[in-house]
């Protein structure tokens, strides 16, 4: 078959997009597309034209199982492992598996032990000598009964956020426990802007995560933190269902 004839290519592209180009001819045409930009352009044009026909097809709702199946096959491995803390994607350390983290820690520790002066500011040296705590952002969130339940901390110029759940009672208090599709989300409430999510909160223990920027950039104008109960995986604003709340303070 000659593939230099524009009209022939255009006819093949239209049949390919419509679906009537079948069998071996379809596969040959797919290979041709991979190799030739002009062929892809013909296909793109026909996709643009025939795509208009799809607009009249009534929408339908598939089962909820469909998204679960897709998410199970697409969600990055790191996020899948920690099923109890589904952090928003922007909080996930990009492309940074546990192996890389361990190697980094080992390398950094070796260098640190051999030449601590390279790493330590005067503030950090003061901290090591026990004179004071490092410059950090710290938050303590209380439940409705005024009990401190969540400790939030992050070094001022660091990108690591640590959450520690205090006590053993359920964070949700006397309210019903979290349903399978619910989660607790930590929000920062800046004095001059919209609240932003800092991740989900596990039921117990200590969680460490990576921030998209230094805490100094993210938290310098934040004086309040809240934890809300959310039904969607990536809520854009906190729900009214506040479970914990507290202050965020600068420790310096």
């Amino acid at each position: 078959m000659r593939y230099t004839d524009t009209r022939l290519l255009d006819a093949l592209a239209s049949a390919y997009v419509l679906g009537t180009l079948a069998g071996g001819a379809r596969r040959r045409f797919e290979r041709l597309q991979r190799d030739r930009a002009d062929v892809r352009a013909h296909v793109a044009q026909w996709e643009q034209r025939l795509g208009q026909l799809a607009l009249s097809v009534p929408a339908r709702q598939p089962s909820a199982e469909l998204w679960r199946a897709i998410a199970a096959r697409t969600r990055p491995v790191g996020a899948r492992k920690t099923s109890s803390s589904r952090w928003p994607a922007w909080l996930r350390p990009a492309g940074f598996g546990l192996g890389g983290l361990a190697a980094g820690v080992i390398a950094a520790s070796a260098l640190f032990l051999s030449a601590p002066g390279l790493f330590l500011s005067s503030d950090q040296l003061a901290m090591r000598s026990g004179e004071r705590l490092p410059q950090s952002y710290v938050g303590v969130l209380n439940d409705a009964q005024g009990q401190g339940r969540l400790l939030v901390s992050s070094l001022r110029h660091g990108k690591t956020l640590t959450l520690k759940v205090l006590g053993t009672a359920p964070l949700t208090g006397p309210a019903p426990a979290l349903a399978a599709d619910e989660r607790l989300v930590l929000w920062a409430l800046p004095a001059d802007g919209a609240p932003f999510a800092m991740g989900t909160v596990a039921a117990s223990g200590t969680q460490v995560s990576t921030l998209p920027d230094t805490s100094e950039k993210l938290l310098s104008k934040v004086s309040r933190l809240v934890v809300t109960r959310e039904r969607t995986a990536t809520p854009s604003a906190p729900s009214a269902d506040v479970v914990l709340s507290g202050s965020c303070a600068k420790l310096w």
Binding site: A11, S14, V17, L18, G19, T20, A22, G23, A37, R40, A41, A44, Q45, E47, Q48, R49, L50, G51, Q52, L53, A54, L55, S56, V57, P58, A59, R60, Q61, P62, S63, E65, L66, W67, A69, I70, A71, R73, T74, R75, P76, A79, P88, A89, W90, A94, G95, A233, T234
Partner: protein, 202 residues
């Protein structure tokens, strides 16, 4: 990014291409009902359509980086790109089903459901020709397309909405294969002329 608002489908696809699963989740949330409708229409069966959509969205996640907002200087709407992926997966599933010989069953379903000229049975889903006419009306090219005979429009509609092959369209319309091929060819040409005249597509 790329001058698109951060919550546009373009921007969300760009986010998915960077590995941002939350962006991908939003792409799904915005598009899955429409795409599921298209897949059900082609496959005539919800479970088969869910299987196709699952493959399609996994492919979208893996290939989000290959979406181009423009090809050869012309703008490609993200939904057009997504529809093409779903239709291709659905066509693959239909052809595989044909190869497996389960086709008589499907044909039966199609006959019951989609013979637009003589609607029958209890299925109230609009027939392929009806969907085609609705799309022509919405695009305001129904006048332009009316110059085509009904059999041209119906053969194109069966191929597009149900993913039928030439042979299957011929069988369904009880028409010679050669005629069906010519009708579809002419239908596509006319569609292009009308869309261009209306300024909706190249």
């Amino acid at each position: 990014m790329n001058g698109h608002p951060p919550d546009s489908l373009q921007a969300l696809l760009a986010g998915a291409a960077r590995g941002d699963h939350a962006c991908f989740a939003q792409v799904y949330e915005r598009t899955h009902r429409h795409l599921f409708g298209i897949a059900v229409r082609m496959l005539g069966h919800e479970q088969a359509a869910e299987d196709v959509l699952q493959e399609a969205y996994v492919s979208i996640w893996k290939n989000a980086g290959s979406y181009r907002a423009t090809v050869d200087g012309q703008e490609i709407q993200p939904i057009t790109w997504l529809i093409a992926i779903v239709r291709n997966k659905a066509l693959d599933a239909l052809r595989a089903r044909t190869r497996r010989g389960a086709h008589e069953q499907l044909q039966q379903l199609d006959d019951d459901e989609d013979d637009a000229a003589t609607p029958q049975g209890t299925d109230t889903a609009p027939g392929a020709l009806q969907l085609f006419e609705q799309a022509m009306h919405a695009l305001r090219i129904d006048g332009c397309m009316a110059a085509l005979e009904g059999s041209f429009r119906q053969s194109l509609a069966l191929a597009y909405y149900q993913g039928l092959s030439h042979t299957e369209v011929a069988a369904q319309m009880n028409a010679p294969l050669g005629s069906v091929k010519a009708w579809i060819r002419r239908g596509l040409d006319k569609l292009r002329t009308c869309l261009t005249a209306q300024g909706v597509a190249p």
